[in-house]
C-alpha cells in the first residue's frame, strides 16, 4: 500500500498520460520484474485506474474512514464497548452517546465500531478464502477438463443446491458458533460460486490466440497457467470478491441475529441488533442505528465492485 502511494507521488507528473490499457487483458500477464519499470507495474497502474474511478472513490471515502475509526476506537472520547454505566441506561442518541446507550448503559456507537471491526474481518476473510479456493479449483476444472472437471462440478452443483444462508445455517449447526466457524461456514457456501466463475473465465481464455501462441513455443502448463491464464482472470474475480465480501458481512449479521453466529460477549453487528430487538419499543436506536452502518458498508463494497468493473470494461459505464 505504501509502495503504491509513494509510487503515485513519484509519477504524479504523468497524471495526464493516457490511462493504462484498462482491459486487464494481456497487459497484466506481461509483468516486468525490472525495478526500472516499476512505475508501469500493471498492478499499480490498475490501482491508479481504480482510484481514478468515481464510484470506487466514493466507496473508499466511506470504507477507509470507518476502518480508521474502528482502529482508533480506544483513543476516541467514547465509553469502552464493554463498559456498563448504570447512570445512563437506555439513553437516546445525544452528544455524549451519538448512538445512545443500551439496557446496561453501554455505548451503542463504540459497540457498533467494535462490531464493524468483526464484520470487515469476516467480509475480507471470506472473500480471500473463496478467492484462493475458487482460483485453484476453478482453474483446474476449466483448464484440464474431463474427469476432474466432472467431479468438481458435480460437487459444486450439490453445494449450489442449498440457498446460501441456509447452507451457512446448516454448517454452523455442525461446526458450532463463533468467529472462525462462521467464517468457515460462509466461505464454504461461497467457494462453489467462485469455482464456477473461475471455470467459465478459464474456459473462455483457453481458446485465445495468445494461449495458442504460448503453446506453440512449448510453454509448460505451469507457465501457461501462472503467466497467461490466471492473471487474466484476477480482475473479474476481484469484482466478484468485493460483492462476496458485502454478502458475507450481511450473512454473518443475519446468522448472529438469529443467534447462530458470533455469540455475545464477542461483539458483532448482528448480535448487537438482536440485543436491541427486545427493547425496540422503548429504545429504537439500539437496533436501528447499527443497521445503517451495515447498509453503508454493503453499499460501499458494491460501489467498489462497480468501480473495478468500469475500469476493466469501459463499455459498462452508462
Amino acid at each position: 500500500m505504501t509502495d503504491a502511494m509513494s509510487l503515485g507521488r513519484s509519477t504524479s507528473g504523468e497524471a495526464d498520460a493516457p490511462l493504462p490499457r484498462p482491459t486487464g487483458g494481456p497487459a497484466i500477464a506481461q509483468r516486468s520484474a525490472a525495478p526500472a519499470a516499476a512505475r508501469s507495474v500493471p498492478a499499480f497502474r490498475g490501482l491508479r485506474a481504480v482510484l481514478a474511478n468515481r464510484k470506487a472513490r466514493i466507496a473508499l471515502m466511506i470504507l477507509v474512514p470507518i476502518r480508521v475509526l474502528t482502529a482508533l476506537l480506544p483513543w476516541l472520547p467514547l465509553q469502552a464497548p464493554l463498559q456498563t454505566n448504570l447512570r445512563a441506561m437506555m439513553k437516546p442518541p445525544s452528544f455524549t452517546f451519538p448512538f445512545g446507550t443500551d439496557r446496561m448503559g453501554r455505548d451503542v456507537l463504540s459497540r457498533t465500531l467494535e462490531g464493524v471491526k468483526v464484520s470487515l474481518f469476516v467480509g475480507f476473510s471470506v472473500a480471500f478464502i473463496s478467492l484462493v479456493f475458487g482460483i485453484v479449483l476453478g482453474t483446474v476444472s476449466g483448464f484440464f477438463g474431463k474427469v476432474v472437471d466432472r467431479a468438481i462440478m458435480t460437487v459444486v452443483d450439490i453445494f449450489l443446491a442449498f440457498p446460501s444462508l441456509l447452507l451457512a445455517i446448516g454448517l454452523v449447526s455442525i461446526v458450532g458458533t463463533g468467529l472462525v466457524p462462521v467464517i468457515m461456514a460462509i466461505a464454504l457456501a461461497d467457494i462453489p460460486r467462485f469455482i464456477r466463475l473461475q471455470r467459465s473465465l478459464v474456459l473462455g481464455l483457453r481458446s485465445r490466440a495468445y494461449i495458442d501462441a504460448a503453446r506453440t513455443v512449448r510453454a509448460s502448463q505451469w507457465w501457461l497457467l501462472s503467466r497467461h491464464v490466471v492473471p487474466n482472470t484476477i480482475a473479474s474475480l476481484l469484482v466478484a470478491a468485493s460483492i462476496a465480501a458485502a454478502n458475507a458481512i450481511l450473512v454473518e449479521a443475519s446468522l448472529s441475529f438469529l443467534g447462530l453466529g458470533i455469540m455475545p460477549p464477542e461483539p458483532s453487528l448482528g448480535n448487537l441488533i438482536r440485543d436491541g430487538q427486545t427493547y425496540l419499543e422503548q429504545a429504537w436506536w439500539i437496533s436501528t442505528l447499527p443497521g445503517v452502518v451495515i447498509l453503508a458498508i454493503a453499499i460501499s463494497l458494491h460501489f467498489l465492485s462497480d468501480g473495478i468493473r468500469e475500469v476493466l470494461d469501459p463499455r459498462s459505464r452508462k
Partner: protein, 315 residues
C-alpha cells in the same frame, strides 16, 4: 423437448441424491451422536448403549444410510429428538404458512417490479435520467438492506408505532382475515428486497432490447410507445427476468427464515432455528434437505420454462 426434460430430470435426481448423501454423512461427522444428544446427561453408559441400538446407530454406516434413504422415500422423517413429535406432522403444519409467504411475495414482486423496471429502462432510453436514477438508486439501497434490519424497522414503524399489524400471535389458517393481518408485514419486508432486485434486472434487460432494430421498426410502423414497450420490448426481455425469478427463490427462502424469526411466525424457518437451538439434528437434517429440494425443483422448472421461451437454448 422431451429429451431435454429427461436430461434435466436426471441432473435433478443426481443433485438430490448428492444433497441427501452430503447431509447424512456430514451429520455423522459430528462428535457425539444423536443418541447422546437426545439423552443429554440423563442416561448412564449402559442405557445409552441400549438407546443407540434402538435408534439403529450401532449398525454399519452403509446400512444406516440405506435405511435412511428408504425412510425418506416414504416421507418418514422420523421423530424430533427432544420432544418425540413426528417431524412429518410438524412440517405439514408449518409448510403452508411458509409457502403462502413465499408465493405471495413472488406475486407482489412480479406485479410491482416489472412495470417499475420497464419504466426506468424507458426513461433511461429516452435520456430522461432523473426518474431512472431515482428508481435505480432506491432499488440498490433497498436491495442491500439486510432483511432482518428492514424487518425490525417495519416492526417498529407499522406494529409498534402505528399499531396497524400485530407483532405476534397465532396464525389461524382457516381465517383469511387473520392470516392477511398477520402475514402482511413479513411479506412486505421480503417483497421490498425482491422488488428491488427484480426491478434492476428488468431495467437492464429491457434497456438492452430497446436499442434493437425491431423496436425501431415497430416504432416506425406507428405503434404507440406503450405497445412497443410491453408487446415488443418486454416480451423479448423476458428470458433474463424468468431466470432471476427462479434464482431469487433462493434468497427468498433465506428471507423467510429471518422474517419468521422476527415476526414469530410458526413456519418452516422457525422450526429450523428452534431445531438448531435445541440441537435437534433429526429435524435440522430433514429441513435443510427439504429447503434444498424446493430450491433445486424451482431451478429445474426455471430451466424448462427458459427452454420453452427460447427454443435456441441448449444446455
Amino acid at each position: 423437448m422431451l429429451a431435454f426434460v429427461l436430461k434435466k430430470f436426471a441432473q435433478l435426481f443426481v443433485t438430490t441424491l448428492g444433497v441427501v448423501t452430503l447431509v447424512f454423512f456430514t451429520l455423522r461427522l459430528i462428535p457425539g451422536d444423536a443418541a447422546s444428544a437426545m439423552a443429554g446427561d440423563s442416561l448412564s453408559g449402559e442405557a445409552l448403549e441400549r438407546l443407540r441400538e434402538q435408534m439403529g446407530l450401532t449398525q454399519p454406516l452403509m446400512t444406516q444410510y440405506a435405511t435412511y434413504l428408504k425412510s425418506l422415500l416414504v416421507l418418514d422423517f422420523g421423530q424430533t429428538i427432544t420432544t418425540g413429535l413426528s417431524v412429518y406432522d410438524l412440517m405439514k403444519s408449518a409448510l403452508p404458512i411458509t409457502l403462502l409467504i413465499a408465493l405471495s411475495t413472488i406475486v407482489i414482486t412480479v406485479v410491482a417490479a416489472i412495470p417499475l423496471g420497464t419504466l426506468a429502462a424507458f426513461m433511461a432510453h429516452k435520456g430522461r435520467k432523473g426518474l431512472d436514477n431515482l428508481i435505480t438508486g432506491t432499488a440498490m439501497v433497498l436491495d442491500l438492506m439486510p432483511s432482518f434490519w428492514t424487518g425490525l424497522v417495519f416492526l417498529l414503524f407499522f406494529s409498534l408505532t402505528l399499531r396497524w399489524f400485530p407483532a405476534s400471535g397465532d396464525v389461524d389458517m382457516s381465517d383469511p382475515f387473520s392470516v392477511l393481518h398477520r402475514l402482511a408485514l413479513p411479506v412486505l419486508v421480503l417483497a421490498v428486497t425482491q422488488i428491488a432486485t427484480m426491478a434492476r434486472i428488468t431495467r437492464t434487460a429491457v434497456l438492452e432490447v430497446l436499442g434493437e432494430d425491431y423496436i425501431r421498426t415497430a416504432r416506425s410502423l406507428g405503434w404507440s410507445e406503450l405497445r412497443v414497450l410491453f408487446r415488443h420490448a418486454l416480451k423479448n426481455a423476458a428470458l433474463p427476468i424468468v431466470t432471476v425469478i427462479g434464482l431469487s427463490f433462493g434468497s427468498l427462502l433465506n428471507g423467510t427464515v429471518i422474517v419468521e424469526f422476527i415476526f414469530n411466525i410458526p413456519g418452516i424457518g422457525s422450526l429450523l432455528v428452534n431445531g438448531i437451538n435445541s440441537r435437534d439434528y433429526q429435524m435440522v437434517q430433514n429441513l435443510i434437505i427439504f429447503y434444498a429440494l424446493i430450491f433445486v425443483t424451482i431451478n429445474f422448472a426455471t430451466d424448462i420454462i427458459y427452454r420453452k421461451l427460447d427454443p435456441r437454448v441448449t444446455f
